[in-house]
Symmetry: C2
Subunit: 242 residues, 2 copies
């Protein structure tokens, strides 16, 4: 019997978007674990067709046995048309299941509202079915704590910036702000390291690859790190006040 | 027997800084709950002498019975000298306890590395004893998820800014960035609302007071909200792209 039907009474089924945090299963919230107990079907994103979803592996031990797991391919390339079709198809599938009375969950890495493709599913569901999103620990938050390194204090601002932004935008932020998180550093890694060095920020930076995963590596001197040493899941924290 | 002594063998005791998230006890992480089971003594901050710590009330149900709770006064005023003395005294007390072989925990609202006075304790401990910090869900992350409202996507930057910053700094951020979290909005609340309205940002903003607490209130039209209606724990999300 689907979870949404309780005591023979029809309760509207729901869609739950669940943030898994950065990778360590103990970094999910109690609420995420409780939510996984409410669902009938879990949809998990796979970057590669037939590949294993990292988000799924994080919550694996919290998923009750009776939950059906449905893996769906999320293209992670720059072909917008292909991605739109994939998102639309998954959204339509989810709407159909929820309208049939079953609770659907969807797991997403880190925090669902910070640079997550989850949002592209969410915006296709919101007008059709009830949606509840459960926040997650972002990778930068975990890096700061595990390094005992304040992200931002007092009257300072914190800027979280993807290194896929325009170079002028990156330069502007590095110049005007003291506390900065650089996300998506993988693609233009060498350029970013060179830039931080040129701005005199190398000694105020720490780089963490695979935060909270078994393969976690911390680089306190970013100057000699090469792209080959790090993974796609790499983040740099800069704090000029430290 | 203190938790740090296992199987008759001396293991160095530790200090644990634990982020509790914004208020709902289910928004703490599994790791925070597991950490509370490792400690012998929990130090909790109180804003008012004799008052009740919100951070403590959040984790209350996860604290094993044998843990000793020590409430300590944290002055939340602008008297820097008074605060320095309070932090120094608490830090010295914690160092003494940890060196005696007992694990000490300290709970702090939201995320310990984002505008948290926890950092002033941390920096006084780091060279003396082993410190482990457990991240928490920040209020802005929870507001975004509970409102199904993306904080930041794609190539945009996210700026988290306290409204205690210089006015020029606030204006600069509102002008140059699309995705903004305004923290500490309480003190100059009217000025902030007037400024957002003048910048044409009122319709791109949402205000949440007491996020995830029983008294949570959401204001989707910020223009008519007065300071009397909101609590000290209020945050405004701005996203020009929505």
């Amino acid at each position: 019997m689907p979870n949404a039907f309780a005591f023979g009474e029809l309760i509207m089924a729901k869609f739950y978007g669940i943030g898994t945090g950065p990778g360590d299963p103990s970094l999910v919230t109690i609420k995420a674990v409780e939510t996984l107990k409410k669902i009938d079907i879990l949809v998990t994103p796979e970057a590669k067709e037939g590949g294993k979803s990292l988000a799924l592996s994080i919550v694996q031990d919290y998923i009750p046995e009776n939950v059906e797991i449905v893996q769906r391919h999320f293209p992670m390339n720059f072909n917008d048309a292909e991605k739109e079709v994939a998102w639309q198809n998954i959204a339509e599938e989810i709407i159909k299941i929820v309208k049939s009375g079953k609770n659907v969950g969807f797991v997403t890495l880190g925090d669902p509202m910070i640079y997550s493709t989850y949002v592209y599913i969410l915006e296709r569901l919101q007008d059709e079915i009830e949606v509840e999103t459960i926040p997650g620990i972002s990778s930068f938050s975990n890096i700061a704590s595990s390094q005992n390194r304040p992200l931002v204090m007092d009257r300072e601002a914190l800027v979280v910036l993807p290194c896929t932004a325009d170079e002028a935008h990156i330069d502007f932020t590095l110049k005007h702000y003291n506390c900065i998180v650089l996300m998506k550093v993988y693609k233009n890694f060498k350029e970013i390291i060179d830039k931080l060095t040129a701005f005199g920020l190398a000694e105020h930076a720490v780089l963490v690859s695979n935060s909270s995963l078994n393969e976690e590596t911390v680089y306190t001197d970013i100057r000699n790190v090469t792209k080959e040493q790090i993974s796609y899941f790499s983040t740099i924290l800069v704090n000029k006040t430290l």
